[in-house]
């Protein structure tokens, strides 16, 4: 294996593991079965350490090693998890994250090591404080001194190179095609195996024997000049399944003691094996065994002790692995682009097939088109990921920010399984962070004020996601004080954003906070803070062809609703014509089409008893020519609002590959993109949210002058 090639995998995996670790840490205090979370945390630290060792990333190995030792104690119950320890462990997870990022960027930040020192010191305290002795003389963090009473070292018959290996093979090792024999043989290449002792009684009688299960446990002594990495590396492929402990030459007796304590076999039995291997002499064994019952000594992290994955952990790991493969995002993007081209090509083939009136050809083309649709759907599905992972990071943020600003705030997440395009997920992270942060800073009131309002002292921020007509809707809500309508209006008047005396609906008023420059202002009220950067949020969301809305009930809370298209690449379009121009309406937004006779007198009609406002696209985009006597209205829906679009002709459904507008047209409102039709013409994709909004807020012209869009 070429290690350089594998490094990106290590980095990606570590990031994922760290995320898992963080997730587990945030949930562990409230979990039903905290043991699962603790195991997950341990597993993450352990795996990162193991992989880092492969790449000789000593800094990470050293740090995770201490962390792992603490986690080990958490697992066996000698250290209890409380809020402070969780905060410390979160800090450690961040630190490993920084170390990993340093590896990823190839830039070594000398400050990173300094940052590790206080963390290590705190970790050491947890390693030390479970015995009688207080951690008065806190050991130097990185290189702890050996324990005082067990300070003597294992004798090791063979001098410098006497390693002791304690191996317990997992039950599935044989079924997985591994054989303990091969490890023994391989060790023979690293040095000389001076003694092997099978753990007695580990293999059951024939009647109880599962012939394909591995029962073997070995203690063995290896005389070798190899380094720890090389010896550990032998077991690389079974590390997950097996409990492997490697004690280097001259390990302190304390390490043997922790080895004995850790194994299920009776101490005397195991002790005898250690003596048989020549790793301990009888006198040393006596010291180990007498001390075995005493509490662990302070400041003696079992330094050379390799992880001890219990069987349960190995199984969990297997379940978590799942059947998935890692693919470069670039490759996927290329596939999606090709599929986009394929869709366009298939559309033009369809046009040609129809024009030559060859039935057989049309049939073939129809089959082909169906397949192309399926390919497109599956290709897009590849990029769909659950939004849950990006919600996870908010747990952490809420946890940290709540501590920082001294409020008690819980995050309630729902709809984590809602899927959307990975490229969209990547881009909404920042805006969402902003919204959540705002909700915490300015939405949730201080505890005293909450209690005065008969609300629970703990504030709640909610994140919710669901699908709605081809869009994903993400809601960020809080149960705080809500927006202050009057203050917003006053502010807007002061900034000249609204004309005095003009009546505004609630939603129009609240939407003002998204106006640029609404709140560049002083932090006087919780309102002024609300606006900080909201215009940036809105701009980011709009750039994704999304929309954002805000709803608020005074005293009850505020909900910001973000709507985003599921994908940025392709839509199911509905083509309509006005004069010689062709427009595309995203099909998901089309409710129905009706025939329309225009008498030119009004801008609304009676749709089964409801008032339906409509927009004349010909007028809107200043398209020349006169309308035909029979026009059509396409009724579109967005965020619960219906609007009619008056068009000349209906062309019907088509697959539409979205080409973004060039920057030249960035100011053109009402258009969100372009698309190439089968015959090579350009069709403009209508920005329905903007059209609906323009209808709502009255008469703002969409295009100023603008002969560009004819």
């Amino acid at each position: 294996m070429d290690l350089d090639d594998a490094l990106p995998t290590f980095i990606a995996e570590s990031r994922e593991l760290l995320q898992e670790m963080e997730h587990a840490l945030l949930g562990v205090l409230t979990a039903h079965e905290p043991q699962h979370a603790v195991n997950a945390i341990f597993r993450a630290a352990h795996t990162i350490k193991g992989s880092a060792g492969l790449f000789a990333l000593d800094e990470i190995v050293d740090f995770t090693h201490v962390l792992e030792s603490v986690l080990d104690r958490v697992r066996d119950g000698t250290v209890t998890l409380d809020e402070r320890l969780v905060a410390l462990l979160l800090g450690c997870s961040d630190h490993i994250g920084m170390q990993v990022e340093a590896v990823a960027s190839g830039i070594r930040d000398p400050g990173t090591a300094d940052r590790a020192v206080p963390l290590l010191a705190q970790l050491q305290r947890h390693l030390g404080d479970d015995g009688a002795a207080p951690a008065a003389a806190a050991p130097a963090p990185a290189r702890p001194a050996p324990a005082p009473t067990l300070a003597s070292f294992a004798p090791g018959e063979c001098g410098a190179g006497h390693w002791h290996l304690s191996l317990r093979f997992g039950p599935d090792v044989l079924r997985n095609g591994m054989d303990p024999v091969s490890f023994l043989r391989y060790l023979g290449r690293l040095g000389r195996v001076t003694a092997v002792a099978l753990v007695p009684g580990s293999v059951p009688a024939l009647q109880a024997l599962d012939p394909e299960r591995c029962y073997l446990g070995l203690e063995l002594a290896l005389d070798s000049d190899a380094d720890q990495d090389a010896i550990e590396g032998t077991f690389e492929f079974v590390r997950e399944d097996c409990a492997i402990h490697i004690l280097p030459p001259h390990s302190p007796l304390a390490d043997y003691r922790s080895l004995v304590a850790m194994r299920p076999e009776p101490a005397a039995v195991l002790g005898a094996l250690l003596v048989r291997c020549g790793s301990l002499d009888p006198a040393a064994l006596a010291t180990v065994l007498t001390d075995a019952d005493a509490p662990p000594m302070p400041a003696a992290p079992p330094e050379p002790v390799e992880g001890t994955p219990p069987r349960q952990r190995a199984q969990e790991a297997k379940a978590a692995e799942g059947a998935s493969i890692r693919v470069d995002a670039d490759k996927l993007d290329r596939l999606i682009n090709l599929v986009g081209e394929l869709v366009t090509a298939s559309a033009s083939a369809g046009l040609v097939a129809r024009s030559v009136r060859n039935v057989a050809l049309q049939e073939c083309q129809a089959t082909l088109a169906t397949l192309v649709d399926e390919v497109r759907d599956s290709a897009l599905q590849l990029r769909m990921v659950k939004i849950g992972t990006s919600f996870t990071r908010f747990r952490r943020m809420v946890h940290d920010v709540a501590r920082e600003i001294g409020k008690d705030i819980a995050l309630v997440v729902s709809g984590e399984d809602t899927e959307l395009d990975k490229t969209v997920i990547e881009k909404i992270g920042d805006p969402l962070t902003h919204l959540v942060r705002n909700a915490m800073d300015h939405g949730i009131e201080p505890a005293a004020q909450r209690l005065a309002r008969d609300k629970p002292a703990q504030g709640t921020v909610t994140l919710n996601a669901y699908h709605d007509s081809g869009h994903i809707v993400i809601e960020v809500g809080d149960d705080g004080g809500g927006l202050d309508r009057e203050r917003i209006l006053a502010k807007a008047l002061e900034r000249g954003l609204v004309e005095p005396g003009r009546p505004l609906s609630d939603s129009e008023t609240y939407a003002l906070v998204f106006e640029p420059g609404f709140s560049t202002a002083e932090q006087v009220t919780n309102l002024s803070g609300r606006g900080v950067g909201m215009d940036v949020v809105k701009r980011n969301i709009t750039a994704l062809r999304g929309s954002i809305a805000i709803a608020s009930t005074p005293g009850r809370g505020t909900t910001v609703t973000v709507r985003l298209p599921l994908t940025l690449a392709l839509i199911n379009g509905f083509q309509v014509g006005v004069g010689s121009s062709v427009f595309v309406v995203p099909l998901d937004m089309v409710d129905e089409c009706i025939e329309f006779r225009d008498d030119g007198s009004r801008d609304y009609l009676d749709l089964r008893g409801k008032v339906l406002p409509f927009i004349r696209l010909r007028a809107l985009f200043d398209i020349g020519g006169s309308p035909p006597p029979r026009q059509n209205i396409v009724i579109v829906r967005h965020a619960g609002q219906q609007v009619g679009l008056v068009v000349d002709t209906l062309f019907g459904e088509s697959q539409t590959v979205i080409k973004p507008l060039s920057r030249l047209f960035a100011q053109a409102r009402g258009i969100s993109g372009t698309s190439i039709r089968g015959n090579g013409d350009v069709a403009l994709i209508l920005d329905i949210p903007a059209l609906v909004a323009s209808r709502e807020s009255g008469s703002r012209p969409l295009v100023q002058g603008s002969p560009l869009l004819v």
Partner: protein, 95 residues
């Protein structure tokens, strides 16, 4: 498999590996049903892996439970290697 009156001998030939482990277990269980001392003739074993070794250990454990003498009378070179690797060459074989 051939049996002599005073002492039964079970001869195993070919591979003692995970592929035949289930079959060999049956064979051993059957051979040990007779209460007389059992000798294993393993001179025809061509290959042995950890699963094979476990079978021998299990047979040993079963016989010990019942106080029934069991020993490996003959071992092929392949098997001997294997036993030596695990430090068992003296405890399982005769002499």
């Amino acid at each position: 498999m051939q049996t002599a009156p005073a002492q039964a001998t079970l001869r195993i030939e070919g591979d003692m590996t995970i592929y035949r482990a289930a079959e060999l277990r049956e064979l051993l269980v059957e051979a040990l049903q007779d209460p007389q001392p059992l000798a294993l003739d393993l001179s025809g074993v061509t290959e042995c892996d950890s699963a094979g070794l476990q079978l021998l250990l299990a047979a040993h454990a079963t016989a010990a439970e019942r106080g029934q003498p069991l020993q490996v009378a003959h071992a092929s070179a392949a098997l001997h290697d294997m036993l030596a690797l695990f430090g068992l060459d003296h405890s399982l074989t005769a002499g």
